[in-house]
């Protein structure tokens, strides 16, 4: 693992040039501010490689694991799709999963309406302390329960407390292929590293090792699926490249990786709408700045820690990728096509798993427990000197992006003015 070359975000903020943003945007010429190209990412997919039918066994989801625990007759009786509701009830009862709605209204499942401490107000996101207090008041096991479903529900399940349910990791197998999309992040060729599709060795993508054996992961790794699906369209990632003197070859460009506050929509042909304007999320911690270079139309950024929002259906997750590198190609049609490589922090991936919820994982045939145990096992980046444990796992995400315009919010504009002084 290599940490060299990482820029602290605060230090990079000092390097920010007055690019894009509200100041110039009001009078930008057709095509936008000169020397600046911005893009909106219409999907960010954990990617790996291989054909699951030939080089890796598949891991079972929670329902399949639970079914395997049942006597043959019961298993047969609950296996049909029509029995899914009964199967869920049995499994939830067996493991003692809980789901507690924070406000009136049910999701149609087994949610119960919460008893709330007096200091908790409806429609306000409770603090972690309040979550614990609510959970205790409503009979959750001690110190158990997490917010999920867009902060509307407190749940206790294999996704919130995976180590409480080790049985649900039964049958799990890691991805066993040798080939994977990705990047050599640490500059070394280790025994557990993959080989890239182009033959490059030392590919670091242990997250794919952990999740690549799930059918859902494999489907989302399919380029045809990635072409059609838009992910996190409600809070899309934005990539802004500025200071471009030559779009084919430039030794130094500034790159901002940002989160949009406006949704990405489709155009009349069903593709992501290009050249739309996106106001930034006001959270300044979501402004990630680094430098990069362009060689023969391919952008490569210097490593930087990146925080961005992944907001898709019930998932509302701030994801952190440390030592992140973007390698992407400017396409003739104006789009940007490439990958984001780096070490996804375990904390942010845990958070994503919690947001996925037991229901979500069950519906896509995954096991939060098995994944959580696997990423803890395969983590390979940013060792915590205090505990000696890795805090992040190497990962690779593919993305496609179409041209867009970045509109800095007042927070970013003020930050930019401050950094310019």
């Amino acid at each position: 693992m290599g940490k060299a070359g990482l820029y602290p975000i605060a230090a990079l903020a000092m390097l920010v040039l007055p690019i894009g943003g509200a100041g110039l945007a009001a009078d930008a010429p057709t095509g936008g501010p000169p020397g600046t190209r911005a893009f909106v990412v219409n999907g960010l997919f954990f990617s790996g490689g291989g054909d699951p039918n030939s080089d890796s066994a598949q891991s079972p989801g929670s329902y399949d694991v639970y079914l395997s625990m049942l006597p043959p007759a019961e298993r047969a009786a609950l296996s049909s799709p029509g029995k899914r509701g009964e199967l869920k009830k049995r499994m939830w009862d067996h493991f003692g999963f809980r789901r507690l709605s924070l406000w009136p209204g049910d999701f149609g499942g087994r949610a119960q309406v919460a008893k709330l401490p007096p200091d908790v107000k409806l429609h306000q996101k409770p603090t972690p302390e309040q979550v614990r207090a609510i959970a205790a008041l409503n009979g959750f096991p001690k110190d158990r329960g997490s917010l999920a479903y867009q902060d509307q529900t407190i749940t206790y399940s294999g996704c919130t407390n995976p180590y409480d349910f080790p049985d649900l990791a039964k049958g799990y197998v890691p991805y066993q292929g040798k080939i994977s999309y990705g990047m050599n992040l640490d500059g070394k060729v280790g025994p557990h590293d993959f080989t890239g599709p182009d033959g490059k060795r030392g590919i670091d993508n242990q997250l794919w090792r952990a999740i690549g054996s799930y059918k859902q992961s494999q489907e989302m790794n399919d380029p045809a699926v990635q072409e059609k699906v838009m992910l996190s369209a409600r809070a899309p990632m934005l990539i802004e490249v500025s200071g471009i003197d030559d779009p084919r070859n430039d030794p130094d460009v500034t790159v901002r990786v940002l989160t949009g506050a406006d949704p990405l929509v489709r155009d009349g042909s069903g593709k992501p709408l290009a050249r739309a304007s996106f106001t930034l999320d006001p959270d300044p911690s979501l402004v990630n700045v680094t430098h990069g270079h362009i060689v023969n139309g391919e952008l490569t950024t210097d490593p930087v820690d990146i925080r961005f929002v992944f907001r898709e259906q019930i998932i509302d997750n701030i994801r952190t990728v440390r030592g992140a590198v973007i390698k992407a190609t400017f396409k003739p049609d104006g789009s940007l096509d490439g990958g984001l490589f780096g070490y996804t922090t375990l904390a942010s991936y845990y958070d994503m798993i919690e947001h996925m919820t037991q229901d979500g994982a069950d519906n896509v045939g995954m096991s939060c427990v098995a994944i959580r145990l696997a990423i803890d096992k395969f983590a390979d980046g940013f060792r915590d000197p205090r505990t000696g444990r890795f805090t992040a796992i190497s990962s690779a995400m593919k993305f496609r992006a179409v041209p867009a315009f970045v509109i800095d919010s007042p927070v970013q504009t003020a930050s930019r003015a401050e950094s310019a002084q």
């Binding site: 509200a22 009078d27 930008a28 010429p29 057709t30 042909s269 709408l273 739309a276 509109i407």
Partner: protein, 555 residues
Amino acid sequence: MKLRMSRMALAAAAGAAGLSILLSSALPGKPNAVIPQSSVRRLTEAQYRNVIADVFGSGVEVVGRFEPDLRVDGLTAVGSSAVSITPGGLEQYDAIARHIVAQLFAPENRAKVVGCAPGATDPDGARCAADVVTRIGLRLFRRPLALGEVRAGVAQTLNSAGKLGNFDGGLAATLVGMLTSPNFLFRIDTPARSGPAGTIDGYSKATRLSFLLWNTSPDDTLLAAAASGALDKPEGLRAQVDRMIASPRFADGARAFFDDFLQLSDIDHLSKDALIYPAFSTSVAAAAREQTLRTITDLLIDHKGDYRDLFTTRRFAMTRALGPIYDIPVAKPGWSIYEFPAGDPRAGILAQASLLALHAHPGRTSPTLRGKAIRETLLCQKIPSPPANVNFAVVQDVNNPTLKTTRQRLEAHLDDEECASCHKATDGIGLGLEQFDGAGQFRRTEHDMPIDVTGKFDKAPFDGVANLGQLFHDSPKVSACLVSTVWRYGNGRNIQAEDQPVIDDLNRGFAANGYRFMDLVRTIALDPGFYALPRARPAGAITTASATISKRSAS
């Protein structure tokens, strides 16, 4: 609420008003169509909606399909003098009126509209009905109701109320009748009883003035001025004109004019091939129409600017929906003014998406359509329609491997001398706009070939839309076209030979006042000729028009 209304009553009312209903007497596309000077003009859909909002409140919905407005020589304002109401159209007006009236009697509106609540057999019902009929009649008919009209309204209300056992039901039927009355649906001039011969009375003046300046019926102040005779005196008229032009509502009137002048309502029916122009949508089309109107009012009303600057301005009203079309960042989510820098390809309304997209095919540009529209609209010229047997194969073959640009394909098409004569008039201007595709998006190449946007306008060379816009800015034909169009809009008819001295005066004044649109409109509004009764015309002129209609109908 069950509403009843006698269609016979409406027909009788139409007859009583002496309406001369001309069925489709307009001649769209025919040069200098002769529209008989008329004292009767049908409200356009926009005017109807404005009046309802003014009289009953903007919360009252107007739902239904209107008789289509007819565009004659580019203006629905001219067409409004030449249309009547078909039986089917009357049914629509009736349905719309019923829906409106039903809302008026909703609990939240009733007290405001009616203001009294007698029972079905209450002797005070007559007084209540008279009050409502008088008060609302004044606003709807744009004049006080005659005593006989009020009595008839009261009688109808009480009669219906008695049969329905419900005063409100009776009053509603009367209101529906008023909303479907020719006195409401048509602006009918009334000769003045005193004063110079050949002029219209104060209320008719107020109506002409209000629809010219605000595109709606007179407000209480203007009606009061009509009642007091103030509009018959120059200083009284001037006071009202100045008041109305100073009002924010004048921008509504200006929008109505330019919407008609530029034929922007056609955008409502515009569609593009989503695979070729995926960024274009119905919401983009609506925003493009709004953009042009806001750009115009920003320059001409808010900044009291020079009309000619519309062809060179770099200040475009902008909203985020249009950002992808213009390929620019739009910082504010609502409407704001976006100023393109000098040297940018976007300059003037000729470079706005509304006109560019409106005058193009669903999947490709058309220099011919663009050139024709600009010549007819902005230069007031007439371009003949193409013959029926034209072979467009070369022009339409956008994937021709050797004729890669539209200019090349058009030039090949012009090998046909018969086509060339007309295309010479249109294509030069249209080819100057070829750097904007059929959705109004900027492009430098077509099939990897650089797009040539050079040409000549009135023998002056140009290179691109900014140059062309400057030539339009400097062309007397452009400003003269606006003058004549505003006059035609206000008068609801085309210019005849005897009107030419007035037009000449207006042109001189327009130039002398710095080409200020507001001054031009003010001058027309203060012109005594604007309030003249239609002059007696030789019978032959009208006969000629009718004969042409009959001939066309028969063919």
